[in-house]
């Protein structure tokens, strides 16, 4: 048992008041280690809410620096941070919100050479990336390492998310492989309403906290999609695909793959 300080009891009082969380749940949150991949539109709200909730250790992977065009939605970065590595900017805000959180920063791309090493340090992974090669990499690495993760994607006025636990449907059950380079636009090409990132990211943060506290039902074997134009939310039941190349009955993928990225996405680096 953690001995809560007076300050912690006060800080987390609204969690502790919840019957489903209580002191025990808050302790689980404080013992949790979460990796957030991407400190952008999704990673920003995810990191802010996880820090505020008291997650014990938050790792952040991002190789970008803050750009003026990020500030419309990446609410963890401020105007003064333009030009600063996103992981440094995010670390500063997390510490300001909650000095108890241990922050690990990875100022690098997640790729096949480092993914498993980084992921193994954490209990839960949040995909806040903006491109398909890394979404598939996170999926494959988490399936291989037996780690749960939250998938998130946003575009224009839409969002979709699901949560993977070992033995439930993975991203490759939904989509076998990344779309050809340039075939599907990313936010940097097609745009996104800033608040959509907050809507989707806070769902991912809630799923993360539900995972550690064991509350309710996770978005496993379900894909949640929404269209903010109509504010219609929908969950589609999905099943693990027995022929899935990574989590199926006879997996054919035995190593991590670095898929090619769209040239227009790479030019920013």
């Amino acid at each position: 048992m953690i001995d809560f300080t007076e300050e912690q009891i006060q800080r987390y009082s609204r969690h502790i008041l919840l019957q489903d969380v209580g002191v025990e749940g808050q302790e689980k949150i404080m013992n949790a280690r979460v990796l957030v991949v991407g400190a952008g539109g999704l990673g920003a709200p995810v990191s802010l809410y996880l820090a505020a909730a008291g997650i014990g250790r938050i790792g952040i992977v991002d190789a970008d620096v803050v750009d003026l065009s990020n500030l419309q939605r990446q609410v963890i970065h401020f105007t003064k941070d333009v030009g600063v590595p996103k992981v440094k900017s995010a670390e500063e805000k997390i510490k300001a919100i909650n000095p108890d959180v241990q922050v690990d920063t990875y100022y690098e791309f997640l790729d096949s050479s480092n993914a498993l090493d980084i992921i193994k340090e954490y209990d839960f992974v949040v995909d806040g990336t903006d491109n398909f090669p890394v979404k598939f990499l996170i999926n494959d690495a988490c399936v291989m390492a037996g780690k749960p993760f939250s998938h998130g994607g946003i575009l224009r006025f839409n969002g979709q998310t699901f949560t993977h636990l070992p033995g439930t449907a993975c991203y490759r059950c939904f989509f076998k492989e990344p779309p050809p380079v340039g075939a599907v636009p990313t936010c940097s090409q097609a745009g996104v309403l800033g608040a959509i990132a907050g809507m989707l990211g806070t769902i991912q943060a809630a799923e993360t906290l539900k995972y550690f506290t064991g509350i309710g039902e996770l978005l496993t074997n379900r894909l949640l999609t929404f269209d903010a134009k109509t504010m219609q939310f929908r969950t589609i039941n999905v099943k693990q695909r027995p022929s899935c190349a990574i989590c199926g009955d006879h997996p054919t993928i035995d190593h991590l793959i670095d898929y090619e990225q769209a040239a227009c996405d790479l030019k920013n680096h």
Partner: protein, 70 residues
């Protein structure tokens, strides 16, 4: 005529109708990118022309959504 459910919404369709035909009827953007479930089971792309739809079937089109970080 038969009633089927596409992404949760009822649609009146004429049978026979296979999954490929439904995709073109619905003007699905980039059909080569879409993932299809019929009655909550993934339908392999190579089976789309073989799968005949029937009254009450539930079809879901799942789309790639890639944004997040940048």
């Amino acid at each position: 005529m038969a009633k089927i459910y596409v992404n949760g919404d009822a649609q009146e369709v004429s049978l026979p109708l296979n999954v490929s035909e439904l995709i073109s009827q619905n003007n699905v953007a980039q059909p080569d990118m879409v993932s299809v479930q019929v009655n909550e089971e993934f339908a392999e792309r190579e089976d789309w022309e073989k799968i005949q739809l029937k009254e009450g079937d539930k079809v879901d089109f799942l789309y790639f959504m890639g944004g997040g970080a940048r």
